[in-house]
Symmetry: C2
Subunit: 157 residues, 2 copies
Amino acid sequence: MTRRKQMEKLELDAESSHLEGLIGYNLKRAYVIVQTDFRRVLGDDGFSPRAYSALSLVAQFPNITQTGLSKMLGIERSGLVAIIDDLEGRELVQRTTVAGDRRAQALLPTPKGIKALAEATATVRAHENTLFADFSQEDRATLIELLQRIRGLGEDK
Amino acid sequence: MTRRKQMEKLELDAESSHLEGLIGYNLKRAYVIVQTDFRRVLGDDGFSPRAYSALSLVAQFPNITQTGLSKMLGIERSGLVAIIDDLEGRELVQRTTVAGDRRAQALLPTPKGIKALAEATATVRAHENTLFADFSQEDRATLIELLQRIRGLGEDK
DNA sequence: TATTGTTATACTCTATAACTATA
DNA sequence: TATAGTTATAGAGTATAACAATA
């Protein structure tokens, strides 16, 4: 038996592994695939997944505070600082003062940020459309619905 | 409008965000939920997701080499060293010589490793059964099937 | 007292490159 | 020349704790 045949057999057997029956394991492996493709396509524009998500939400919710954004992203306030520092350094987002609360920093997209977001969004959509070309619209809708139900499980705590 | 109402409105609007329509974004957020629960439940036994996966595959494919295992896990050979070091240090896995190739390290589970794996597997299954209590068997099967199709997309490259 | 943004710090996960011993 | 395991190193990503300014 050749080495190649041996590897194929190993991979075939893996399909029946109990590991293959775990949702967590499959989620992780699937996410790595999508994330790798995202970075390949958007890395040139300097957008990591989290930078894109942050800019996207700032554009959608102008004047959101950093604490509000960190909650939406599901990360700590402290972790958001570097993300916003980066976006502000590239003049895509602006920190502004909040009337009535001098502690808070409200976030606004710059015109340059809006333009960069539009371009990145077109690229992201193309990336997913290409990657998921074999998935029907129903497949995609079912997948997103199931994933959002999982996300909802985290809100009970 | 109260602060709480404002937050609720923000979260409601987020549902219709184009970010919410991205598979990658939902995959990431869903994975964080499941991984966090995995660590909460199995952290006490000293099993990270990757350590559990590695031990599980060593038990399923005894005498697999480190390179073979790293390919099955989708990580680099170099990254596997610390994982096996840890499992070997806890006497759950043994590195053994391969007849006919003195470069390779074949991996075998120890009796202690088999026992620990059995216990961890029971815990992992309980964790997923509890977390996904609201998901029907059909939901779970559909989800795993879709995720495995995504994983298959990564093999074309 | 509590909250916002920030800094310092550390830990996990992962990748790349180079080394060694074999093949 | 190529491969298996290893080491050194670095870079994301994230969390916790503490701090100053403000509420």
